[in-house]
């Protein structure tokens, strides 16, 4: 199993912590000097960069939020002058103003290197043909992976996104071995192959590196089963660098987060307090090497937990659990956080349930009530009432024990849950607060 940057990816704990402290302190010194936003925050709190003497001290600093970044549109968060910036990217800006991010020459170099790490962790080598079906443009996905694949010496096929049939023909004719795109696009490709009557077994495809959106283990199984590949997850976000923040190795047991470039923290999304090691909460990232666009305690909105146990692959860097949820998807019921993904997992345990469900939250007598609507397969409804009753009770009991709050369950007919552009409306919150 190859490791691209052994010196850094397999660094002893003590060494990585020293390096993180050094890089954190120099990053803080630079942002204090060069970014007005951060200087103001520091001054308001009456702290100086030199008050941060350990990685733990980082938690004394405030967060940087997406809103902060939007307010700094376009260039106010940059820590270098524009003439040192050699590349600009931005977020899609679907919800309000986009966020513009910049890269210096060194940032691009580090980015390629990080992408080379994630590709190598997934098993890509210089012998691979890597088809990149992320959109080439303002978004960061395609370019990051592109540089990494070139760095490794693989052959890059920059198909960009869309034109699925053409993608498949290229995949077949160019003998693509590795597909890089979003997991949902991978399924779309699988569907289209069926329509085109192309048997994925006859292709050279052996590997898929997917990222850009949350996807479940079940989705992984489906992709792997239908495309006959190994499907690996990688995590990144433009505000931090793009792809290259964390990635699975071939053990598929959490994503290695590259701690020589990023410090992860896990906080309680509702209080902002640091959570004890190993607990699940919102991921907060501080960059350690970014020159143009350094981030101090950026709230990613992604829910995960950290695992420091050394992985069998030899990498020592911390692993984040596969991200299935965003804070904006999280429900707080009677003070307990509830995630749709937990419910999905429970429903998979029961035969006859489709993992199609909807959560309806309301407040009765000042108390939160959570009702889960579950679509069941046709078969169940024709069956006897008693069986239905038992299924309902079992789901209810199981869900209540997994979630830690009492829930009501209602079984509904197939296809009866509202769908919006093929996506379920997962949560309906009727509470008036």
């Amino acid at each position: 199993m190859n490791i691209w940057d052994k010196d850094y990816e397999c660094m002893p704990r003590e060494d990585i912590e020293q390096l993180q402290l050094e890089r954190l302190q120099s990053t803080l010194n630079r942002v204090y000097k060069n970014v007005q936003f951060y200087r103001k925050i520091f001054d308001k709190l009456n702290v100086l960069p030199e008050d941060i003497q350990s990685i733990q001290d980082l938690s004394n600093l405030p967060f940087t939020t997406k809103d902060d970044l939007r307010d700094s549109y376009p260039y106010d968060m940059f820590a270098v002058s524009l003439r040192e910036v050699v590349r600009l990217h931005s977020t899609s800006g679907m919800t309000g103003k986009p966020i513009v991010v910049g890269y210096t020459k060194n940032d691009l170099k580090n980015w390629s290197n990080l992408a080379a790490r994630i590709l190598t962790a997934g098993g890509v080598t210089k012998d691979d043909m890597v088809q990149i079906a992320f959109a080439y443009g303002l978004l960061t996905g395609a370019f990051g992976i592109h540089y990494g694949a070139e760095k490794i010496g693989a052959s890059v096929i920059p198909t960009s996104s869309g034109h699925t049939e053409k993608q498949i023909i290229i995949m077949k004719d160019y003998k693509t071995t590795t597909l890089v795109c979003t997991p949902s696009y991978a399924l779309r490709i699988a569907d289209t192959m069926v329509n085109m009557e192309i048997d994925p077994k006859t292709l050279n495809l052996r590997l898929g590196l997917f990222g850009g959106e949350p996807w479940s283990e079940n989705m992984r199984k489906e992709i792997e089963g239908r495309l006959y590949i190994d499907a690996l997850d990688n995590y990144g976000l433009s505000e931090v660098i793009g792809p290259g923040v964390a990635a699975e190795c071939q053990y598929k047991d959490g994503l290695h987060l590259f701690e020589d470039h990023f410090i992860p923290e896990i906080i309680d999304p509702s209080t902002g307090n640091l959570l004890p090691p190993g607990e699940k909460g919102e991921l907060v990232i501080t960059t350690l090497t970014k020159e143009a666009f350094p981030m101090i305690r950026f709230r990613t909105g992604d829910i995960t937990k950290l695992n420091w146990r050394q992985c069998d692959c030899g990498r020592t860097c911390v692993r984040i659990e596969k991200i299935m949820e965003r804070t904006d998807n999280m429900l707080i019921i009677k003070g307990v956080s509830v995630f749709p993904s937990q419910i999905e997992l429970v429903l998979y345990e029961f035969e006859g349930c489709e993992p199609h469900f909807q959560l309806v939250v309301d407040r009765k007598d000042r108390m939160d009530v959570l009702e889960v609507l579950v679509e069941v397969s046709e078969r169940i409804f024709f069956d006897e009432m008693k069986k239905q009753r038992r299924l309902l009770e079992n789901i209810k009991e199981r869900l209540s024990s997994v979630l830690g709050v009492n829930v009501d369950v209602k079984l509904v007919e197939p296809q009866s849950i509202e769908r919006d552009l093929n996506k379920y409306k997962r949560i309906i919150d009727k509470r008036v607060i």
Partner: protein
């Protein structure tokens, strides 16, 4: 090999180093670059105990050396070659070298001392030629070699070099830098080098730190630092400052 955390060093009320954290791995050459007065020499003096820091931690081979007297730090294997060389000008080259081993001299017999001097001579053949010459009459480059040779007499595992090219003609500086990379290759000495000549130091080093008014503002591979526009402008003399700054 050396791991420093949050060193704060003062000259009276002047806070010269603010939370300096750096490390040097075995076999590495690490460069510390920065403008005049940034605190480069103070970092070296803080490590070697010449100006002991008020706070911080300096772990060398697993031992906290902070607060230890300089001679004990030398015994543990750290040898500093101070700015301006500071050789004993009125003494001969050989005597200078003998003095370099002073802390081992009492415990060592004459023949092993001789052997150590031989080792230095075989590394710097020019010093052998000049061994009976008064050190003060050597050329600048030769004096720097003598200063390095003297430091080598204590068989250091970590060498702290303070501006070895200072006051030397460019051609001679080149020789000295070549010598330093031979130290790494042939003697496997680990080196922390402070330089005004940032470009030469970075070409020699594996990694570097940039220090500015007592604070470290960057840790990077040498290549990365050479690539960095801010470093180029401030320390490599490549570009002029822009008006907007």
């Amino acid at each position: 090999m050396l791991r420093i955390k949050n060193i704060n060093t003062y000259y009276g009320k002047v806070h010269a180093l603010k939370n300096v954290s750096i490390h040097v791995n075995v076999g590495e050459i690490v460069a510390l670059i920065g403008a005049n007065g940034a605190g480069k020499t103070t970092v070296l003096n803080s490590i070697s105990g010449i100006t002991p820091p008020r706070e911080g931690e300096a772990i060398f081979k697993g031992v906290n050396i902070l607060g230890l007297p300089t001679d004990q730090i030398v015994k543990m294997g750290i040898s500093q070659i101070p700015e301006g060389r500071q050789i004993f000008a009125p003494l001969t080259v050989s005597t200078n070298l003998e003095l370099g081993a002073y802390h081992r001299y009492s415990r060592k017999n004459k023949s092993s001392l001789k052997k150590d001097i031989e080792d230095v001579f075989s590394f710097f053949p020019i010093l052998r030629e000049r061994r009976n010459q008064i050190a003060g009459t050597l050329s600048g480059g030769e004096q720097q070699m003598l200063a390095i040779g003297r430091a080598l007499m204590s068989k250091p595992s970590l060498l702290l070099l303070d501006e070895p090219s200072m006051g030397l003609a460019p051609m001679i500086s080149k020789d000295i830098f070549r010598m330093i990379s031979r130290l790494k290759d042939e003697l496997k000495t680990t080196i922390l080098i402070v330089e005004q000549n940032a470009k030469a130091a970075l070409q020699l080093a594996d990694r570097g730190y940039v220090i500015e008014t007592g604070k470290i503002i960057m840790e990077e591979s040498s290549k990365g630092l050479l690539n960095n526009k801010e470093v180029q402008r401030a320390y490599l003399g490549k570009e002029k400052k822009e008006i907007w700054e």
